[in-house]
Symmetry: C2
Subunit: 448 residues, 2 copies
Amino acid sequence: MHRVVIIGSGFGGLFAAKALKRADVEVTLIAKTTHHLFQPLLYQVATGVLSEGEIAPATREILRRQSNARVLLGLVEDIDLTNRVVKWRFHNEYHETPYDSLIVAAGAGQSYFGNDHFRTFAPGMKTIDDALELRARILKSFEIAEFTDDPEERRRLLTFAVVGAGPTGVEMAGQIRELADSTLRDEFRSIDPSTARVVLVDGADQVLPPFGPKLGRKTQKTLEKLGVEVQLGSIVTDLDDEGLTLKRKDGSTERIEAACKVWAAGVQGSELGATLAEQSGAELDRAGRVVVDHRLNLPGHPEVFVVGDMAAVPGVPGVAQGAIQGARYAAEAIQARVTNTAGPGSFTYRDKGSMATISKFAAVTQIGRLQLTGFVAWLAWLFLHLLYIAGFKQRITTLLSWFITFITNGRAQRVVTNQQMVGRLALERLGARSSGKLIHGEDLTERN
Amino acid sequence: MHRVVIIGSGFGGLFAAKALKRADVEVTLIAKTTHHLFQPLLYQVATGVLSEGEIAPATREILRRQSNARVLLGLVEDIDLTNRVVKWRFHNEYHETPYDSLIVAAGAGQSYFGNDHFRTFAPGMKTIDDALELRARILKSFEIAEFTDDPEERRRLLTFAVVGAGPTGVEMAGQIRELADSTLRDEFRSIDPSTARVVLVDGADQVLPPFGPKLGRKTQKTLEKLGVEVQLGSIVTDLDDEGLTLKRKDGSTERIEAACKVWAAGVQGSELGATLAEQSGAELDRAGRVVVDHRLNLPGHPEVFVVGDMAAVPGVPGVAQGAIQGARYAAEAIQARVTNTAGPGSFTYRDKGSMATISKFAAVTQIGRLQLTGFVAWLAWLFLHLLYIAGFKQRITTLLSWFITFITNGRAQRVVTNQQMVGRLALERLGARSSGKLIHGEDLTERN
């Protein structure tokens, strides 16, 4: 039986496995989390609208009825392209899984553009752990401000800086604003949460660059009406526990004292990209993504596909649709290989549009040349997200959670565990080498 | 204005604050978590039925419209009974809050009966952190078993031991069984989850001792029909990473190799009890609970009330109703004190009955002399729990989550974060002094 190994349970990995449902192959999906992640809604977990379960169904539950697929929990450490073996481990157990075809969809982490020391103080938005860490930091800031007498420190605690004005950054900024203005209203006695300052920073000259200048301007206006300060053409030159320093294009600098920082600025392809590049001679782009050929193959390796955020394919954006379409293409090519039929031609990406929510009832949507804003765009956003959330249970509870949040402004998921209250920062001081490593469970599982 | 300080946001603390809504007092509630906790449903978070948000609404959200109440996040370290000051801190900030009346409702932790080293290997069921840690351990056991070839180790991974056959223990055992038999069915390829062994251990001669022998026998029969092994008259003499050792009344011993252990066996009153006892001369019972007088007062301190799990009151069980009724009584007494009117007489507990679910559609309920079992008891359980869950949002999403679980056997909340995957054990090895401390955020926040 032809053995297909898939690395990753994100959009790329999961949709590749599903696309092989009727293929005469043996699928093994190896992932470092037990869940699939609907990353586009991660910001709603970070801001208390959704529970983690609603956007992260168990991968093996989704694939339970697909008898040709098995799911294994493990961190892939190495790929031996010559002997066609994937080497992975969980805790101290090492395993080797051989393959005939390989789909690498290990995704991307957040890039700090060479300033990895920012990471500790400004978590990214890539994992459930990130979202829960941010939820804790956001809510903790209000909690501490409530009993802080020093007005300067209180101001710092109530300042939230979001770096990166792509969809995730825009959505986070809008949600923190709504949290402060509506959800937390009347809950504090010493502070007025609506006086919180939310700053959205980007080096570009507009918000949502891929949406074009017109939608960018409209989005910026909506954000500013909500009370988000938009700082464009500004790059972050320094970022620490206390705040961050911006440098504008005109050379001027500004220091913003902010307790809570969110990093939504750039992506860095999985470290597995380097492993693949080293052995195959493939190139990596500046974001560490593997440059694949027009069949999504690693050069010289028709049996290895790289899809999703860790692949650099001209014209394919790093969004769910890019990963899903790449995964389906790879599955089709593998099926052709197994059945000895003509495979698909070159991979072509079909742009299904992009969308971002700004606030309740306001979104921007671009589908081809059609640009929508406001309530209509928001309805389109609602419908499409519900459609793509995996799992029946998740779909109906998410709809209910949204309904509740929309009508009450309340958020049902505001729990901060003690572990999260303690936070990554303390764990690092305790000995974990870096939160970047910690978040992938590497440092600690190694010692367990 | 008369200042009332309340310590704790559990049933005692929250209901005390709410009962003072119309009183001419200034209420300050200090708690170490930002949420209230509906502890009776904690086992459903541990087994993936409910999200943490559904049973843990934010305390300040519940009290938002009560203008005479403020909520502060902090860990109370000391109470100065002479100067009437509560000393608390959050991270490195120390605060003192004076009071005219004090309600101490800091609850209880799990007791390991002198074997505190068991704690690391068998988490209790007292906090959201506990439940999420257990969820991770339970699901991780199945995940690791899936790629473990050694049959003995696989057996150990698929053995779950629940210590303590009170309601929480019975509910956990029943839920782990259902998880293994229904929820996880067809999800694995190398193991059959239904071959998992679930052992329920108690030193007593029956399960659910407070329900009496008849309901105990019925519950045991239902549990055994489900596939739970019930080991009564057995105490745990040893417990480590690998398993546990039981000693029976006849002197025989048995070693059970079990990767996942749950401790639901005893309670230990909050450490604040010792502080109160030392200064007032009050006695502590064996479980470290403060022996209060018939007005729930600390001896010699009519301005200090101790309610809920940290108070020892003859005839009052350590359940939600005990805390709620105690809290309401204390609030009434304080109102009388403020208005200079005759206060309530001695505290009397009104038994509203007890209940425990065993599995889907099966529960046991005792209300006075009325004993119910099976579906009727389960319906009573469903209705009463929905009634007592705080928060409209929580109530409707819980109902939906239950509905989904009942009809599909699926569980929507199976996420294990990386932090939880790493787990407490690894954190301890990393340097945290004990998970007991860690779970209260003490060790780490100190260093933060």
